[in-house]
Symmetry: C2
Subunit: 236 residues, 2 copies
C-alpha cells in the first residue's frame, strides 16, 4: 500500500521508472526525484538540465566519510595507516567504476557521447547518486544504505584487511617474476603547510606508472604500489 | 539544572575540566568523555592511553564532508571546481592549525614533546575532536555545531568565494613584483584508473615549493598556487 502510494507520487512514466530503479538499487523511493535525474545526467547530456558534477563532488566526500566511519568501527585495533589504505582501496576509481557497472548504472546513465564511453563516467555517477541520496534522506540513512546495500554486499573486508599491507611485496614479486625493472622513487618530500608529505612514484620499465602522497612514507609507498597493481590490472 | 546534572556525571576534576572546555568550545557536554581525552592526546603522550591518530583520520574526513555539504548548499551556482577550491582553502593545514590555536586547543592538548611544538599538532587535534564529536553525538548534530560554531564564526565565505579563482594571478603578481622566477610545471598527466589526473608543481627560484593534483588542469593550477601562497605566508 505504501509502495503503491509512493510510486504514484511521480509525474510521468520516466520518473516512475527511475524511482523504481532507485528503489531496486538502494531500497527506497526518492522524495526529490530531480536530484536523481541530475545524478544520472553526464555533462555531455546536460543541455537543458544540470549535470552530475556538483553532486559527484558532494558524493565523493560523503562516500569517503561513510567508509571511514565504517572502517573505524569494525577495525578498532588497526592504526590510521591501515584505515587509510583499506579506504583508498575501497573507493579507488577502478573499484568504483567496476561497482557502478555491477549495479547497472551504465544502463541508467544519460550521456550524449558518440563512441566508446569511459567506465569512469559510471563511477562518477555512482558517487553523484550517493550525494543525491544524502540530500534526499540525510547522512545517517545514507550511511545505513551504503553500509548494508553496498559495502556488505560488494566488499570482502577480510580480504581487504589481509591484503592491506602487502601491495609493495606483491608488486615487487610480480615484477621479479616478469623480469620488469621496478623502482620506488621519492619524487618529493615537501611540506604541506607544516607537515611533511612524501610523494612516491612507481617507475616501471623507465616510466612513472603510478604515484601517491602521504604523511607516512610507508603508507605512500603502499598507496602507490596499490595504484600500480590496479593499473597493471593484476589485483584479484 | 540540566547543566548541573550533566557536569556532575564526570568522575573527577580533570574530566570535569575537560567537559567544561568542550562545552565552551562546542556548546555541549560530552556523553563519552574518553573520546575527547583521546582526541587531545598526541602520540608522544599516549603511553598508557590511545593517541588521537585514528580519530584524526575520521575527523579529517568528516570535516571535509561537512564543509562540502555546507558549500554545496550555500553556493548553488558555483561549479565543482570552485567548490573544490573553496573547501581546500578552508581545510588546509595552515588554516586548521591557525584555527586550532584561535580556539585554544594548544592549551588543552597533551603532548610529551621537548622544545618547540609544531602547530600541525593543534590542527590534527582539532580534526580528532571533530571525529570524537561525531562518534559522541552523530553526524547531523556535529554538522550543526561545525557550521554554527566554526564555519560561521571563523570563516568569511564571501572573501573565500571572491578569492577562489585568483590564486594563480596573485602568485604571478607577487613573483613579478619581487622579481622571483616562477614557473607552473606539469609534473605528470597520469591516468588514475581511467580518469586523467593533472599534477602541477610550482617552481620558484628553481625549486618546487608546492604541488597539487586534480582532474581539471585549471583547478590543479589554482590549488598548487594556493599552496604556494600559503607556504610563502602571503595569504591575507
Amino acid at each position: 500500500m505504501l509502495k503503491y502510494f509512493q510510486i504514484t507520487r511521480y509525474k510521468n512514466s520516466s520518473e516512475k521508472k527511475l524511482a523504481q530503479s532507485i528503489k531496486n538499487l538502494f531500497g527506497f523511493y526518492p522524495k526529490n526525484i530531480s536530484l536523481f535525474q541530475q545524478a544520472l545526467t553526464h555533462s555531455s547530456a546536460a543541455k537543458h538540465s544540470k549535470s552530475n558534477e556538483r553532486l559527484e563532488f558532494l558524493g565523493d566526500s560523503i562516500l569517503g566519510t561513510i567508509v571511514a566511519e565504517y572502517l573505524f568501527g569494525i577495525l578498532p585495533n588497526k592504526d590510521e595507516g591501515v584505515l587509510t589504505q583499506v579506504r583508498s582501496r575501497m573507493v579507488s576509481r577502478v573499484q568504483l567504476n567496476k561497482l557502478a557497472v555491477k549495479l547497472g548504472i551504465d544502463k541508467i546513465l544519460h550521456t550524449d557521447i558518440k563512441g566508446n564511453i569511459s567506465y569512469a563516467l559510471y563511477g562518477d555517477a555512482f558517487e553523484a547518486l550517493v550525494g543525491a541520496i544524502c540530500l534526499d534522506i540525510g547522512y545517517e540513512k545514507t550511511k545505513k544504505i551504503v553500509v548494508e546495500k553496498i559495502i556488505k554486499q560488494h566488499f570482502d573486508i577480510n580480504t581487504l584487511i589481509n591484503e592491506d599491507t602487502d601491495y609493495k611485496s606483491r608488486l615487487i614479486n610480480f615484477c621479479q617474476k616478469n623480469k620488469m625493472p621496478l623502482q620506488f622513487i621519492l619524487l618529493s618530500e615537501n611540506m604541506d603547510g607544516v607537515k611533511k608529505i612524501y610523494h612516491i612514484g612507481i617507475e616501471l620499465n623507465g616510466e612513472i606508472i603510478a604515484e601517491a602522497q602521504n604523511a607516512s612514507k610507508r603508507v605512500a609507498e603502499q598507496l602507490a604500489a596499490n595504484a600500480a597493481l590496479e593499473k597493471l590490472d593484476i589485483l584479484s
